[in-house]
């Protein structure tokens, strides 16, 4: 796929927040990259540097093979959308969407047709004459995206579009983003904290920590084989056991010995796995005492105290233990990840 936006060893700093250093990646037309990372990792700074609101101290940004590093925002064909949708308060919805068209001297009924078309695609045609302050959160998001589409951008940069939205609204926004993908297929970069949104939307995921792009790959790869301890905790590896590896697959931990497929580096480190990395079975080789049972929408997790400390496992079967029961559990070898070092 032809890269629509390329970032090459980019570095930038913005006020007190972490400076970006040596970041390189590219996103093809129609592809959606999600940027994950703890807050203050520089995700927004990276987005604003691509958009042109922050000056890169070194490195290059190319959009459709054109070097835009030194160009002002309006000449980059990259539309940046703020966290909560920002509409022009003095213009109606139709006028907001028409704004980019006016700038590109699209006139007369060609423009009004295009506006109607865009509003139609976002299913908000009936809001055409409304003023922004009279719209609901979801409607404002759709207008903002429709307006972005009107600029027919080559690159779409969405800064935390889901933050602060209730589940129903998140679904609505995800749907709107897909429409954008389908209609003008810009290269899209979305910054978010939410793993579900990342998994549902992303063609690829990039993890940013302290201003460095630590890992980039398809969702499954990043979610199951995090390349560092921080990424692992970020993508949901909540259980950590201190362990020693002998280099050929045997791992010694406080709760017992176990094998891991594939060779690992020898030496002490920590073994990490998600709540679905183990399950309660009557003939499990490990023992633990249940301390709490929490039911979350869509999943039940059991918190148990083992020789190696607190662990949290997802429970599949209907039977639920009571806090205080002694249970046995087994670990799925292929879902464990070992990281050497402290």
């Amino acid at each position: 796929m032809r890269p629509m936006v390329e970032v090459e060893s980019l570095a930038a700093s913005f006020g007190e927040s972490a400076g970006l250093s040596d970041i390189s990646f590219s996103v093809g037309a129609g592809e959606l990259l999600v940027l994950l990372g703890p807050s203050g990792a520089g995700k927004t700074t990276l987005l604003r540097t691509i958009a042109g609101f922050v000056a890169a101290t070194s490195g290059h940004v190319r959009i459709a093979e054109r070097d835009v590093t030194c160009l002002p925002p309006e000449k980059r064909a990259a539309v940046y959308l703020h966290q909560s949708p920002v509409l022009f308060p003095h213009l109606s919805v139709a006028e907001n969407v028409a704004f980019p068209l006016r700038l590109r001297h699209v006139v007369g009924n060609r423009r009004s047709e295009r506006v109607a078309e865009l509003l139609e695609s976002m299913q908000i045609l009936e809001l055409a004459d409304r003023l922004p302050r009279t719209l609901s959160g979801g409607q404002r998001n759709r207008v903002s995206l429709a307006r972005a589409l009107a600029a027919s951008p080559m690159v779409l940069l969405l800064d935390e579009p889901f933050s602060g939205l209730d589940p129903g609204l998140r679904q609505d926004v995800r749907e709107a983003i897909r429409i954008v993908q389908r209609t003008s297929a810009p290269a899209t970069v979305v910054v978010t904290h939410d793993l579900d949104d990342a998994a549902l939307l992303a063609d690829r995921i990039g993890v940013l920590i302290n201003g460095r792009l630590c890992q980039i790959g398809n969702p499954r790869e990043v979610m199951t084989l995090p390349s560092s301890r921080e990424i692992a905790t970020l993508v949901g590896f909540t259980n950590t056991l201190s362990a020693r590896a002998d280099g050929i697959g045997n791992i010694e931990t406080a709760i017992g010995k176990l094998r891991v497929c594939g060779g690992t580096v020898s030496g002490s480190g920590s073994l990490m796995f998600r709540t679905d990395g183990g399950r309660l079975t009557c003939d499990g080789e490990f023992r633990g005492r249940v301390t709490a049972v929490t039911t979350r929408p869509g999943s039940v997790t059991i918190r148990l105290h083992s020789a190696a400390g607190e662990l949290e496992l997802a429970s599949e079967s209907g039977r639920l233990p009571e806090p205080g029961d002694e249970v046995e559990f087994a670990l799925h070898r292929e879902r464990l990840v070992f990281f050497p070092g402290s």
């Binding site: 609101f53 922050v54 000056a55 002002p72 925002p73």
Partner: protein, 284 residues
Amino acid sequence: MTVDKHSTVGLILPALIALPPLIGLGYAVTASLGLVGVAPGGSTSRYLREVIANHTTWAALGWTLWITIASTFLATLAAVFLAATFRAESKADRFGRIVAVLPLPVPHVVAALSSLLILGQSGLLARVAHSAGIISTPAQMPPLVYDRLGVGLIFALVWKEIPFLALIAFTVLKNRGGMLEETARSLGANGIHTFFYATWPVLWRGMLPGIVAVATFVAGSYETAALLAPSRPLALPLLTMERYTATAMDLRPGAFVLAGFTLLLSLAAVAAYGATIGRTDRLQ
């Protein structure tokens, strides 16, 4: 649109506005040292010493200070009282707030003229007193204009200051008053207690920058003093103008000393304003 390009421009432009007063101060200082102006000789502190030694200078300064403090104090008192009275959203309250603010755009010279017509020795007040039989000739009327206490002048200045301070008081109470007072009330404080422990602390901090601004403006006001101030002691602006237009050449540099001095005072006011703004900012 990087930040640094703008900060330099953002710095130069405001500095341009401060240029006229600074140039004025520069010229006033050089002229008062005799370096420039009518009889430019070598730099001499003669004029400076003459003004400082002259008792009319201190009388003028003292008197203008008295007028400034008296009028600003009364206006603040009235503004706070108005703010406390017309608090609610009823029609009467809103009407009260509008009337209180009405004189804001009326020029100072108009207030001074009205004060002259009302409080003059033979003004409206004297005629009311006459028709009420309290006095028979104007001479029996206590002098309220061109008088040592400057009552007429204070009346005009207060009439002009109240709208400005009241507006600030209304705004401060609307934005920051509410919650604090409700908590005080819920803790059983009666009207007066609430005022002193909840309303007043917020109010005076919020009004402080406005009070400093108004005091500075009143101290420098020329037209009100020209119409209402006494011939002795001369108000500072009048003394400055009298010396500036004096035909005797050695009196003129004294005007520059006084002008320079008042400009320095306004610099101090800016510092005071900065300090109060700083404090109230930290409060928000």
